[in-house]
């Protein structure tokens, strides 16, 4: 049976969510051989305003590239969480960065709270890799895209000198997700 899985990564500009979306789509399509679309939209100000990236992964060609029924919502700001939680399926997942999101939505979906930015800062040494930590958590929680594919996609996006740092961030995210299960 065919599947279609919809991710929405939301927060504010400068948090690297568009890049995270691209990496996820590239991992699925280029390295896992699935089909993927990735879209992005910014609020009025690209840096600091709202930012949203959607990724659809399917084992078949994708007939409609817009997300309509979210399977996984990542929220890096309270505003994004308040705005988008209603689009999540009953069987869906909401992952929030509890460094920024404190008021959790009510619903039948499953909510995971992880202080993603704090983890990136304390365990990896760089808050800016919070997006990569989040990718690790998402990869492990959903198992839609393989770990190896995401690693390859990360490596194709970063310079040689920071490969180790970014892979460490990704693996910290994987471990965090394993602890959540």
């Amino acid at each position: 049976m065919s599947f279609r899985y919809e991710f929405r990564l939301s927060g504010s500009g400068g948090q690297g969510l568009i890049l995270a979306g691209k990496i996820l789509a590239e991992a699925a399509a280029i390295y896992d051989g699935k089909n993927a679309t990735q879209s992005q939209s910014y609020g009025p100000e690209a840096r600091g305003g709202s930012s949203r990236s959607e990724v659809i992964v399917s084992d078949e060609e994708i007939d409609y590239p817009k997300a309509v029924n979210i399977d996984l919502l990542l929220c890096f700001t309270q505003e994004a969480c308040d705005k988008y939680y209603k689009d999540v399926k009953d069987t869906g997942i909401i992952l929030v960065d509890s460094s920024y999101v404190t008021k959790l939505p009510q619903g039948r979906f499953k909510i995971y709270t992880v202080p993603i930015t704090e983890v990136a800062e304390k365990e990896v040494g760089k808050a800016l890799v919070a997006n990569i930590v989040a990718l690790g958590i998402i990869t492990e929680l959903t198992k839609i895209v393989s770990k190896e594919a995401v690693e390859s996609a990360i490596l194709s996006r970063v310079p040689k000198g920071t490969e180790e740092l970014n892979l460490r961030a990704f693996n910290v995210g994987i471990k965090k997700a394993q602890q959540l299960r």
């Binding site: 400068g14 690297g16 890049l19 691209k22 789509a25 590239e26 399509a29 280029i30 089909n35 993927a36 679309t37 990735q38 879209s39 992005q40 939209s41 910014y42 609020g43 009025p44 100000e45 690209a46 840096r47 305003g49 060609e61 994708i62 007939d63 409609y64 590239p65 817009k66 800016l128 194709s156 996006r157 970063v158 310079p159 040689k160 000198g161 920071t162 490969e163 740092l165 970014n166």
Partner: protein
């Protein structure tokens, strides 16, 4: 012909990209240029970038009206366009509109952009700008491409002085696409004096040559910190930037 750069496009998407570029070639008004391709794609197609990612197509228009007119332009019946935004996203200096194009069910992001003053920056020397012209064969089908794209030297000039690049350097964002492009173009052109003369001349329409040089120097001196430890910085280029 099968150009080298197509190897850096996901195999499943090559035909669709060629078909969309052919469509854009037909849509582009060559006599009264209505848009120009900017961003990473011209760098890929001109051989500056050599890695496989999901490439987007960025179209730069003269103004918001230009985007609206382009949206109304008749397009091939087989082409499907899905609009990601409900309306033009307008901010102080940038207007954008995000779409996805497909001739079948393989989607390419095509973003329509207006940046105050930059259409003129990229097209003022249009007579000297040669369109990318190629017949691309994918499988058994050939696609005719004739498309005005931003000159890579203009792209680096813009990126060096962009506030976004300054921020990426300041925050040491190793995943910065702009910095990656700057280092790629620099690597290819650093010993080419024609390049240096061109960008010093061209930057004058955006900022002073002195300011440009300072910014470029800062970017180069941050390369190692940003993860580009393999970047070979030519002493001659440093000398030029310090003059």
């Amino acid at each position: 012909m099968y150009p080298d750069w197509l190897n850096y496009v996901d195999r499943k998407r090559q035909r669709n990209l060629a078909q969309i570029l052919q469509c854009l070639s037909q849509l582009q008004d060559k006599k009264n240029l209505d848009f120009i391709v900017i961003g990473a794609l011209p760098l890929l197609m001109r051989g500056y970038l050599a890695y496989k990612v999901y490439w987007d197509i960025d179209l730069l228009f003269r103004d918001d009206k230009g985007i609206r007119e382009f949206m109304k332009k008749p397009k091939p019946k087989m082409l499907r366009i899905v609009e990601y935004d409900d309306a033009l996203m307008v901010s102080r200096n940038i207007t954008s509109f995000h779409t996805a194009w497909a001739f079948n069910r393989i989607w390419f992001n095509v973003d329509y952009i207006v940046r105050k003053g930059f259409f003129e920056f990229y097209t003022h020397n249009i007579d000297a700008l040669t369109p990318y012209t190629e017949s691309i064969t994918v499988g058994s089908t050939s696609f005719q491409i004739c498309l005005y794209m931003a000159h890579p030297w203009d792209i680096i000039t813009e990126k060096v002085i962009s506030p976004r690049t300054a921020r990426d350097v300041e925050l040491k964002i190793d995943t910065s696409v702009d910095l990656r492009h700057i280092f790629a173009i620099y690597t290819s052109e650093k010993t080419n004096m024609e390049f240096w003369h061109y960008i010093f001349e061209k930057t004058r329409s955006l900022c002073s040559e002195h300011e440009f040089k300072i910014k470029f120097l800062k970017i180069l001196s941050s390369a190692t910190e940003l993860g580009y430890r393999d970047l070979e910085i030519s002493p001659d280029s440093i000398k030029l930037l310090r003059e």
